[in-house]
Amino acid sequence: MEDFGSASLRKLLDAFPDAVQATHADRGDATVLVEASRIVEVLQFLRETGGLDFDMLMDLTAVDYAGHPDRDGPRFEIVYHLLASQHFHRLRVKAGVPEMPCQIDSCVAVWPAANWMEREVFDLYGVRFRNHPDLRRILLYEEFEGHPLRKDYPKERRQPLIGPRN
C-alpha cells in the first residue's frame, strides 16, 4: 500500500507540479496538501485517471487550526479521504482555507457523496463551498448562531430557544 501511495503521489506531482504544496506518508497514510484554488481539478484527476481510480470519497471534514502551537498558515484545512475500491488504496488530500474569505470550491460534481459532508462542514465550521447545489445547515437548525466546531466557539455557550415551527 505504501508503494501505491507513493506511486499515486508521483503521478499527481507529475500532473500538477505547481498545485501540490507538500506530501507525507506519516503512519502509513499517504497524504498530499494541495492548493485550495486547484482542489476540484486535482480531485477530478484522482478520480478519473486510470491506475488511480479513486472512485469513493469516503470522508470529507475540516480541521480548525486556530491557536495550534506549531502551525502558521491558513486557519482551516479541508480533509478528503479517498478510496480506490478496485485496488483498495487510500489517499488523504488536504487543502488550506483562510479565515477570510472562508470558502473553497465544492466537489459535489466529482462525487455526489460530498453533498451532505460539505453541508456538515459548512454547518459546524462555517466554511462555504462554492457551487454547492444546496448549502444548508444539516445537523443543526437554521436559527443556530455560530459554528460550534470552531475553536473560538465556547463549549458552554447557550443558544436562543426557538419555538415549534411548522
Partner: protein, 406 residues
C-alpha cells in the same frame, strides 16, 4: 399542508393533480431512528424526499476535543448504541496508530470477539425491528430475544449491557470472566435456534417477500458514487468488506465468508444481514477457541505512556501511585500528527480521523459515520416508489440516530 402546482395544461386539472407534502417524523412509530422526512407525494407515489437529520446531535466532536484521549471512549459507545464495541475499536485503533502501539494477542482476540458480538446485536436489531415495522410482531420478538442473549454475554464480558466502554487505549478493560466461554457457547446454540425460528417465519413469508423484493433498488455505480458501504453495498453484489480487504485485529486469522446479494433490493439486504449473523457466530466460536489456546496473558500493552498500573501496586508502590495519578489527572500524551483508521462496523465503514498536537487533549476527533453517509442516497432509492416502500428501505438502511447525528 397543500402545495399548489402550476399547471401548463388545464386538462391535467383533476381532483388529484396537486402534489401533497407529507411530514413524517421526527418520531414516527413506523421508523426506528429519529429523523424527519418531508415527502412530496403524488397520490401514494413519492415524487421527492428531503431527509432532515440532526435531532440527536450531541456535539460528539466538541466533547471529545475538551477531554483527554481516554474520556472520548465512553462517547464512542453512544455513537451506534446497538454496537458500542465496534465504535470503541475504531477509536482505539486510530489512537493506537498515532501512538504506534501494537496490542497483545489476547487483547486482539477479545476485541475481535466483542466486535462480532456487537455486530450480531446490531443485525438482530435491524432485522427484528424491520419485521415489527412491517407489522410482524413474532419475528421481532425472536430477534429481540436473541439480542438479549448477546447482551447477557456483553454483561459478563464488560459489566454493561449496551454502552460497554470495554476498550482502553492499548488494551481492554479486563480479561473475560472464567464463566464466559461456557455461557457464550450455550447462548450461541440458543441464538442459532432463534435465528432458525426467525428465518422460518420470515424468509419465505409471502407478505414479507412481496414488500421487500424489488423495493429500494439503486445501481452499483450510484452506491459507489455516494460512498455507501457495508451490507447495502454487499447486497448489490460488491464484496467489499474491510475485514477481508484491509484486515485489522485478528480477522486475517479467522475463517468466515462475505455474503453478497444479486440485485441490491431490500430482500437482498435482508438475506445479507441474516447470513452475516451466521458468520459472526462462526467468528465468535473461533475466537473462543483461540483464546483458550493461547491461555492467560496480558490484555493491555505494557507501554508507560498509556498503561494503567494494577490497583494492587498503586496502593503499595510510590511510582505506580504517581503513574496512576498522572494517568487520571493529565491523561496520556499522544504524539503530534494525524491518522485515519477505518473498520467494518455493522453499517459499513466506520472511520476515525484524529489529529493530535502532542498534548493530552485531542485536537480533533472526526467520526466517519456510515449511517449518515448511507442515508444520503435514500431519495434516489425511493423516487417513483410507493410511500409504503419507504418503511422497509429505511429499515434496511439501518440509520442509527446516535451515529448519524453524533
Amino acid at each position: 399542508m397543500a402545495h399548489v402546482r402550476t399547471l401548463d395544461d388545464d386538462s391535467e386539472q383533476d381532483l388529484h393533480a396537486d402534489h401533497q407534502i407529507l411530514n413524517m417524523g421526527p418520531s414516527h412509530p413506523a421508523t426506528h431512528g429519529t429523523v424527519k422526512f418531508l415527502i412530496e407525494l403524488d397520490g401514494e407515489t413519492i415524487v421527492d424526499l428531503d431527509i432532515q437529520v440532526g435531532y440527536l446531535h450531541r456535539g460528539f466532536e466538541k466533547e471529545c476535543e475538551s477531554g483527554t484521549w481516554y474520556q472520548a471512549i465512553p462517547y464512542t459507545d453512544r455513537l451506534n448504541y446497538n454496537s458500542a464495541i465496534l465504535a470503541n475499536i475504531g477509536y482505539c485503533l486510530t489512537v493506537e496508530k498515532l501512538l504506534d502501539i501494537e496490542t497483545p494477542e489476547r487483547c486482539q482476540w477479545l476485541r475481535t470477539m466483542g466486535g462480532e458480538l456487537s455486530r450480531l446485536g446490531d443485525h438482530l436489531t435491524r432485522c427484528g425491528a424491520a419485521c415489527l415495522e412491517l407489522s410482524a410482531m413474532t419475528p421481532f420478538l425472536f430477534g429481540i430475544e436473541a439480542r438479549e442473549l448477546t447482551w447477557d454475554l456483553m454483561e459478563i464480558l464488560c459489566g454493561a449491557r449496551v454502552t460497554s466502554n470495554y476498550l482502553r487505549i492499548g488494551g481492554v478493560k479486563h480479561d473475560m470472566h472464567a464463566s464466559f466461554p461456557g455461557v457464550c457457547r450455550e447462548n450461541i446454540t440458543k441464538i442459532r435456534a432463534l435465528l432458525k425460528d426467525y428465518e422460518a417465519v420470515v424468509t419465505q413469508n409471502r407478505l414479507f417477500v412481496d414488500r421487500l423484493r424489488g423495493t429500494g433498488m439503486i445501481s452499483k455505480e450510484k452506491l459507489i458514487e455516494y460512498a455507501v458501504t457495508g451490507p447495502l453495498l454487499r447486497a448489490a453484489g460488491i464484496p467489499m468488506d474491510l475485514r477481508k480487504d484491509q484486515p485489522y485485529l485478528k480477522y486475517a486469522e479467522v475463517d468466515f465468508d462475505v455474503p453478497i446479494g444479486e440485485v441490491g433490493d431490500n430482500y437482498d439486504r435482508y438475506l445479507v444481514c441474516v447470513e452475516e449473523m451466521q458468520q459472526s457466530l462462526r467468528i465468535i466460536e473461533q475466537c473462543l477457541v483461540a483464546l483458550e489456546k493461547i491461555g492467560p496473558g496480558p490484555v493491555n500493552v505494557d507501554d508507560p505512556r498509556v498503561r494503567w498500573p494494577a490497583k494492587g501496586r498503586v496502593f503499595n508502590q510510590m511510582e505506580e501511585l504517581i503513574q496512576q495519578f498522572k494517568a487520571v489527572t493529565e491523561g496520556p500524551l499522544v504524539p503530534a500528527g494525524e491518522a485515519y483508521q477505518a473498520i467494518e462496523s455493522a453499517n459499513g465503514e466506520l472511520g476515525f480521523y484524529v489529529v493530535s498536537d502532542g498534548t493530552a487533549q485531542p485536537w480533533k476527533v472526526r467520526c466517519r459515520p456510515p449511517s449518515f453517509i448511507n442515508l444520503q442516497p435514500m431519495p434516489l432509492m425511493l423516487k417513483g416508489a410507493m410511500l409504503a416502500d419507504l418503511i422497509p428501505t429505511f429499515d434496511f438502511l439501518n440509520m442509527v440516530g446516535g451515529e448519524c447525528d453524533r
